[in-house]
Amino acid sequence: MSDAAITVHNLYRFFGPLQAVNGVSFEIPHGSVCGFVGANGAGKTTTMRILASLDYPTMGHAEICGINVIHHPAEVRKLIGWMPDHFGNYDNMTVLEYLDFYARALGYKGAERRERIDEVMDFTDLVPLADRFSNKLSKGMTQRLCLGRSLLHDPQVLIMDEPAAGLDPKARVELKHLIRVLAKEGKTIFISSHILSELGEMCDSLLFINDGRIVHHGDSESLKKSTDTLGGVLYDVQLDGDPQALSDWAVLQPNIEFLESRKNGGRIRIDTEDPNKAADVLSRMVRENLRVIDFHREQRNLEDAFIDLLANLEKDKQTVPSPPPLPQANPPSAPPEPPLP
C-alpha cells in the first residue's frame, strides 16, 4: 500500500513485438497535478488506460489510492474520472439526457441524481446547453461535457488524455481554468498534453515518457535546468529585411548557434552568459549591415527542454552499444492483445 494517489511500479505492456510501456515506475502524490508528456506512440495513452483499468499490463503493478488496478478494477473505477483522447457523442440525445444516462449508470437515483447533474452542469457551464443535442456541440463544449461526465461521481483522481487537443484558444483557457479549480479542490489530476507551455503552468510535476520509458520526473524548472547541457543564453533577433540574412550571418560566427527561424528573424544561442558578449554580438550585427530592430534575451521554455532531452537521449543511445536489459529475465514472449478493439 502506498500513500500516493497514483503508484506505478515496473509497468510493462507489450503488443506483440511492440513494447508500448517498458518498465515505467512513478508516484503522484495526493492533490497534485502531474503532466504526462511524450511524443505520439511514446506510451502515454497505454499507461493511462492501464491506470483507468481499461487495459492490463503484461507485467508490473499500478495502484490508485493504494488499490491495485489489476486486482480490484471495480473499486478503482469509483475513484477515478476518465477523459479519453477522442470519443464520439450520441445521436438523438441532449446534453441533459447524456449526463442523466451516466448518472443513472453510476448508480445515482432520484433527487441525488438530479443534484449531481445540476452541480456538474453548473461547474462546467453546461446549463445553457442542456437541451442541445450532444452530437451537435463544438469541440470545446464536448470536452466540457466529457469533463462533466467524468466528474459526476466526484472522483478523487482525474485521468485526462490529451483534453486540450483540437480546442480553440478560448476553449483551452476555459478548460485550463476548470482544471485549476479542480486542483484547488484537492483532486489529483494526471493529464497528458502536447502543449508543454500549458502543462508547465498548470502542473506541479511533469513526467516525460519516451519509447515506453520515463525519462524525467520533476517540476518544469528542474527539467529546464537538467536538460540544459549546452549552457549559454538564448536571444530572439528581429530584422528589418530578409530574415535569411540572420542565419547566413550566424553560421559564420564562432560561439553563436542559430536555433530556429522566426517570422522576421530567428533565435540564436550565445555560448556565454556574459552580457558584454551579447552587446558585442549586437554591435557586430549592426556593423555587418544586419538591420536589427529587436534583440532580447529569452528564457528556455519547456519545448526547448523537451527537445534537448530527446536529443540527449538520442546521443546516449548512440554511445551505448546495446539497450539496457529488462529488469525481469523472462517477460512473456507473446503477450496477448487487449480485450477491447
Binding site: M59, P84, F87, G88, Y90, M93, E97, P339
Partner: protein, 472 residues
Amino acid sequence: MHLSDFPDRLSPMLVKELRQGLRTRSFIAVFLALQAILAVILLAAGAGATSDNAGDTISNIIFVFFSIAVIIIQPMRGIAALSSEVKGNTIDMMVLTRLSAWRIVAGKWSAIVSQSALILVTIVPYLILRYFFGGMNLFGEIMFLALIFLSSATLTAVTVGLSASSSVILRSVLPMIALPFGAYSMLMMFMFSGMRGGGGGIAEIVSLSTTESQIGVSLYIATCAYAGFFFLSIGTSLIAPYAENHSTLRRLISFVVTCIAAMIGSTDLVTDADVLPLLFTMILAPVFAISLTEFAPLVSPTYSRFTKFGLPGKLAGFFLFPGWPSGVFFCALLSLISAIPFVLNDHSYGDDHYMYGLICLASLLFPAVVVNLLRTQGAQRVSNYVLFLIASGVITAVLAGIAESMSSKGFLWLFLWIPPVLFALEEMSRSGDAVLIASVAITLILFGILIVMALAAYRKSLVEIEKSINPQ
C-alpha cells in the same frame, strides 16, 4: 431542468436506448408506414369482403407486414448497436460506470425489442377488426404473433451480438443478406400454408392443440432463448474489459443444457432418431464458436475465485477458466456428454447418425484450428471463426456442385481436410464406411491439434498468472 420520462428502476442502458431509438427516423418510418398500410388494407378488405377466405387473407396480410417490420427492419437496427459504441470510444466510458458489458448488450437488445413490442401492440386493434370477418383461430393466431415476436427478439439478439464484431462481413453483410432471405422463406411459408388449409394453417400448427404442437412450440421457444442468450453473450465477450468473466457462467449454462439434452436423449422420449443429432448441433454450435476462440486473458481476480477452493477449484478452472485453452477442454467434455445417449441407445442409431454427428463436430473444430494456427488475436478470433465456418460451407457447396456436374466425386477426397466436404462425399458415395472412417480420423486429428495447442497455452497462462501474483 429535470428529466422524469423514465423511472429509476429501468436499466440505464434501456432508458438511453429508448430515448435515442424512439427519435430515430427508421423507427418512426416503420411505425407509421405499418399503421398506414394495415389501415388501408383493412379498409379495402372490409369494403369488398365477399369471399369466405377474407378473414384468412387479412390475417396473412397482417402477419406478412408485421413480419417484415419486426423480422427484417427491427433486427437490422441492431447491426450498428455495439460497433457504433466501439468506434466512438464510448464503450470505455460506459464500462467505467457500474454497467457491466452484459448490461450494456442486454440494454441495447431490450431497447430494440421494446420498440418491436410497441409495434406488436399496435397490431392488436387490426386483429380485433379482423375477428369480425370470421374464421379466426384466435388462440393460434395470437400464438403465431407471439412466435413472430419471439423470432424478432432472437434475430435482434443475433444482430446486436454480432454488432460488436470487428468484421464488417459478419456484422453487417451477413445479416443484411440473411434477414431478407429469412423473411422471404417466411413469406413462402405463409403462401404455402394458405394453399394447404387456408390462412389459418400455421396458426393451427402453433395452437398447442396437439402434443406435437406443444413439443414443437416448446422446443422453438427454448431454441430461441438459447440462441438469443448465446449471441448476446458473444457480444458481451467482445466488448467486456479483461476483469469481467462471462465465460464461466456461459459455459455452466451450456453444460446444464447439454446434460439435460443428453438425459432426455437417453430415455425413450425422443422417438425420431434424427432429432437428437440436430438438437446437439444446435446446442453445441454456439458454444464451440465462442469457447474455442474466446480471447479472455486469465487475470488474478478470476484465477483467485477458483483457486480459493483448492484442487477442486483448479480442476473446475481447467474447463471453466476464461479463454480458449480451457474452452477446448470444455468442448471436449461436452462432446463426450453428447455421445452418451448415442452409446446408451445404440440400437436406435445407425452409421448415418454417427457419421452426421462426427462431421458436424469436425466442421465446428476446423475453423478453430485455422484461427489458432493463424494466431489470430483479440476480438477478431470469434469473427474469423464464424467466417471460416461459413466459408467452409460455401466451399463445400461449390465443390459439390462441380462434382455433380462432372458426375465424379473422386476429387472431393482431396478436400477431405475441409470437414463439411464429407457431407458431399457421403451424399454421393454408395458405401458410407470410408466416409465414416474419414470422419472419425478427421475429428480425432482436429481435436488432437487443438488439445496440444490448448495444453501449451494453458500452461503458459498459469505460469504467467502465478508470476503476476507472486513476483518473487
